[in-house]
């Protein structure tokens, strides 16, 4: 009996090992093709880049140069980090207030936040891009405001869920000891909320870093691009894609994400699970 289950376990391990290799193959394929000359990429995508097919790093050079990849990467990093920081700070304060002060206004704001979570982006896409344009929010700084507004729903909802479980006595004690509401929030409440804040930060980072349509419609594309916009930009006119440059840029876009993931995967997976349970 025991040997049977053991053999079965080994079989599963082999099966999943093969599956894992298949799982990373698409990324491997892109890396492999990034070293090939343009013409061979669509002709012989599965061939090893050897002999006359090999071009060294020239695909990377043209890719970076054509898309302005370095700047795009910098802007994406800037937008993501700032937006997430602003979202965490503002929505946690907002959620705490909404749960501590009970009146019609706070109730209405909370319900609107819940409501916003089921509204697809296409619903607000056109008016939002026009309003943002009128308010001159087409810079990365303006985009941060939009992300705060559009990301508020989920973040307020998740913070609220946690705040409801914090016993009021802790905050009352702090207030009696002479803390102002701001001090109470930053010295007492926020430190307790840290795990929730990390979860939200992970979910929002995954969204904002990879977002394409919102920045594409809002930003002044001639001046500012994000990584996703830069890649889509390579498509250019109808159907004509510089496959060499594309491969180089894809690799450059994927590698940092994978490195980041391998470093903080524990937090990311935990955050996703926690986020799913509360969402």
């Amino acid at each position: 009996m025991k040997t049977k289950t053991k053999r079965k376990g080994a079989g599963l391990t082999v099966f999943f090992s093969v599956l894992s290799l298949l799982w990373v193959y698409p990324i491997f394929l892109v890396i492999e093709n990034s070293f090939k000359k343009k013409v061979y990429i669509s002709k012989k995508p599965f061939a090893w880049p050897s002999g006359k097919m090999f071009t060294g790093l020239s695909n990377y050079a043209t890719g970076i140069q054509k898309t302005g990849f370095v700047q795009a990467f910098g802007w994406t990093l800037f937008i993501t980090v700032c937006s997430v920081a602003v979202i965490i700070l503002c929505t946690s304060m907002c959620a705490w207030y909404l749960n501590r002060v009970h009146n019609k206004v706070t109730r209405a704001i909370y319900l609107l936040c819940l409501f916003s979570m089921i509204v697809p982006f296409q619903m607000v896409m056109f008016p939002l891009s026009k309003i943002a344009n009128m308010m001159k929010l087409y810079t990365p700084w303006g985009l941060i405001v939009i992300y705060l507004g559009f990301g508020a729903g989920l973040a307020v909802f998740m913070f609220s869920g946690f705040i409801k479980s914090i016993p009021l006595e802790i905050e009352e004690a702090a207030m009696i000891d002479g803390c102002s509401p701001l001090q109470t929030f930053f010295y007492v409440v926020f430190p307790i909320m840290k795990p929730t804040a990390i979860t939200i930060a992970i979910l929002e980072t995954m969204w904002i870093w990879n977002d394409y349509l919102l920045p594409y419609l809002i930003l002044d594309i001639k001046k500012y691009k994000t990584v996703s916009i830069a890649i889509q930009y390579l498509r250019g006119g109808y159907g004509s894609i510089d496959m060499g440059a594309m491969m180089g840029v894809l690799v450059l876009a994927v590698i940092p994400i994978i490195v980041f993931y391998l470093i903080c995967q524990k937090y990311i997976i935990k955050g996703v699970v926690a986020g799913a349970v509360k969402g």
Binding site: P45, C90, H102, F260
Partner: protein, 280 residues
């Protein structure tokens, strides 16, 4: 305490509220209003009543996009959940390398939709080339290509949620069922599935809405080609706005219908599956 906090409205709530108004409330209500207007930008809107909604009926691409999206969503919801659940069951048995497999399967989730689209564009076109076809040869290739892409992206995510659900089942519950003589099938049907119902609710909800709202992957993989036949709802709405002049109103009307669809699906699904949740 409430009184002391109350005065701090401008500091605590106002920044988020203002951004929320700019980023969501104002565009949302403007959007509903605009769906009843003829316009090219917000300022020149003229009330035309239901004209836009009537105009959609003459647009065959929208109906096609709807059925294409619906079929895609049904296929991906079933495949992703079944495969993710099976993988989760296998990986919660104590086999070697569980953590490594989990790490690998989850990874595609962090890669953006545009990037995923182009990665699979290369791979799938490479395979189809052997049969002298391309992804944009017919919408059937685009459909299954997109299904494969979504499986690759989302199975890991859902698997993680299912694993957490399975690990939350109290072990004495499973032992008790074993002592009562339950075989593997009965254990799965009568203990494990009812106990992970909350995870099933979440995962079906996520896969449903992800399927319906899919945009980036669709844009990058096939861009709706050949001639809008592999176009899903979100991309169809986008193309109506930005690809056809004079159709902005119809685009907004489509967006309103799209919103109602997503909202109804999300709420019904949540209602249906959360009724089946049980307590240990």
């Amino acid at each position: 305490m409430e009184k002391a906090v109350k005065r701090y409205f401008p500091i605590f709530v106002l920044p988020t509220l203002l951004a929320f108004i700019i980023g969501f409330i104002a565009p949302f209500f403007t959007g509903i209003y605009l769906s009843f207007c003829k316009f090219t930008t917000i300022n020149d809107a003229k009330w035309t009543g239901l004209d836009n909604y009537i105009k959609i009926w003459s647009d065959k691409t929208f109906g096609h996009a709807f059925w294409y999206t619906a079929a895609f969503t049904v296929v991906t919801v079933i495949l992703i959940n079944v495969l993710a659940f099976a993988a989760a069951l296998a990986l919660t048995k104590k086999i070697r390398g569980t953590n490594l497999f989990r790490t690998v399967f989850f990874m595609p989730n962090l890669i953006g939709g545009i990037i995923l689209g182009y990665i699979w564009n290369l791979l799938l076109n490479g395979v189809l080339q052997m049969y002298s076809r391309t992804l944009t040869y017919s919408s059937v290739y685009g459909f299954w290509g997109l299904v494969i892409l979504m499986l690759w992206q989302q199975i890991g995510y859902m698997m993680i949620i299912y694993i957490a659900g399975i690990q939350n089942i109290p072990t004495d519950l499973i032992e008790a069922a074993r002592i009562d003589g339950a075989d593997n099938k009965q254990l799965l049907k009568n203990v494990i599935i009812p106990m992970v119902m909350p995870s099933i609710t979440i995962c079906t909800f996520l896969t449903l809405t992800n399927g319906f709202k899919l945009f980036d992957q669709n844009l990058a993989l096939t861009n709706g080609e050949p001639s809008n036949m592999s176009e899903m709802l979100a991309l169809n709405i986008y193309n109506t706005f930005y690809g056809r002049t004079g159709w902005e109103g119809a685009g907004q009307a489509k967006a309103v219908i799209f919103f109602i669809l997503v909202a109804v699906i999300a709420l019904t699904q949540n209602h249906l599956t959360s009724r089946k949740e049980v307590q240990a």
